[in-house]
């Protein structure tokens, strides 16, 4: 049973929520419904982080995923939604092959994960507090931290350059 300071059923309700919303992203025909389902899924994942004793990650998940990434995706949907219509097929022909493949991959991965020897594990929750994480981040991982900021600047400039309108060439 999933351990922690919460009732085990909470885990199963949460897992069902996350998986059903994830399936909704794949199955909804309208892109906007997919996006709404994705937001619900991200909220569920944030709740999962909270249950896993990682409140910082839960808050960052809500800020970045539910807040920022969803907005960007919804903007993109609104900018690109095809008005010419008539494109009803939302699965392509690979679905026939991909469905058994995905189920088989899920089965194999589940067996591997459950039988894997991941070393010593206990039922105690071990995630450090926010203080512990920040100590780890700013002591051991300063270089990756700075590198990530560089990546963010590069991504920002790259997105601006890619999405801006081409100037008229004389």
């Amino acid at each position: 049973m999933p351990g922690g300071d919460f009732h085990p059923w909470l885990f199963f309700i949460l897992a069902a929520w996350i998986l059903i919303c994830g399936l909704g992203v794949v199955a909804f025909k309208k892109v906007m419904y997919s996006a709404a389902s994705m937001v619900a899924c991200f909220l569920g994942v944030a709740f999962a982080y909270a249950l896993l004793n990682a409140p910082l990650v839960a808050v960052v998940q809500i800020l970045v995923y539910v807040g920022a990434i969803s907005i960007v995706i919804i903007f993109a949907i609104m900018l690109t939604e095809v008005q010419d219509g008539g494109y009803d097929l939302f699965f392509n022909r690979q679905a026939v092959l991909a469905a058994p493949l995905a189920v088989a991959a899920a089965a194999v991965l589940t067996v591997v994960v459950v039988t894997a020897d991941v070393g010593q594990i206990g039922d105690k929750a071990l995630n450090p507090s926010v203080k512990g994480i920040s100590l780890l981040l700013f002591k051991g991982y300063v270089f990756p931290f700075e590198l990530v900021s560089l990546v963010l600047v590069a991504a920002m400039i790259g997105a601006l350059v890619l999405a801006r309108k081409e100037e008229e060439k004389s």
């Binding site: 897992a15 998986l19 990434i69 690109t80 690979q94 995905a102 594990i121």
Partner: protein, 102 residues
């Protein structure tokens, strides 16, 4: 069964749903959304392992923070490419991006 395995199974299932979506959907934006689902699945696995495995001491949590940051960068650039492509081709369907077809 240990608590960790339940969380890892949840992560595996979410990952496979995301992978299935990436394989079958036509709309590029939905493909990006399914990629995000896969990244979230990996994050759940990392945080769960960091929570239950002695000796990891928060490294998994830290890595999930890095992954969230990079996912934000990835989504920005990816959707910029989608919009630039849409401007040229007026479509977001993957099977209509076929300029390179001989």
């Amino acid at each position: 069964m240990n608590a960790l395995y339940w969380w890892l199974t949840l992560a595996v299932l979410l990952f496979c749903i995301g992978a299935f979506g990436v394989l079958v959907r036509r709309n590029v934006i939905v493909v990006v959304m399914c990629l995000e689902l896969m990244l979230n699945a990996v994050n759940i696995a990392l945080v769960a392992i960091s929570n239950f495995r002695a000796g990891a001491l928060g490294a998994g949590t830290l890595f999930s923070l890095f992954i969230i940051t990079l996912a934000a960068a990835e989504v920005t650039v990816g959707l910029a490419i989608v919009i630039a492509n849409y401007r040229n081709r007026r479509t977001v369907q993957t099977d209509q991006y076929d300029e390179l077809k001989g």
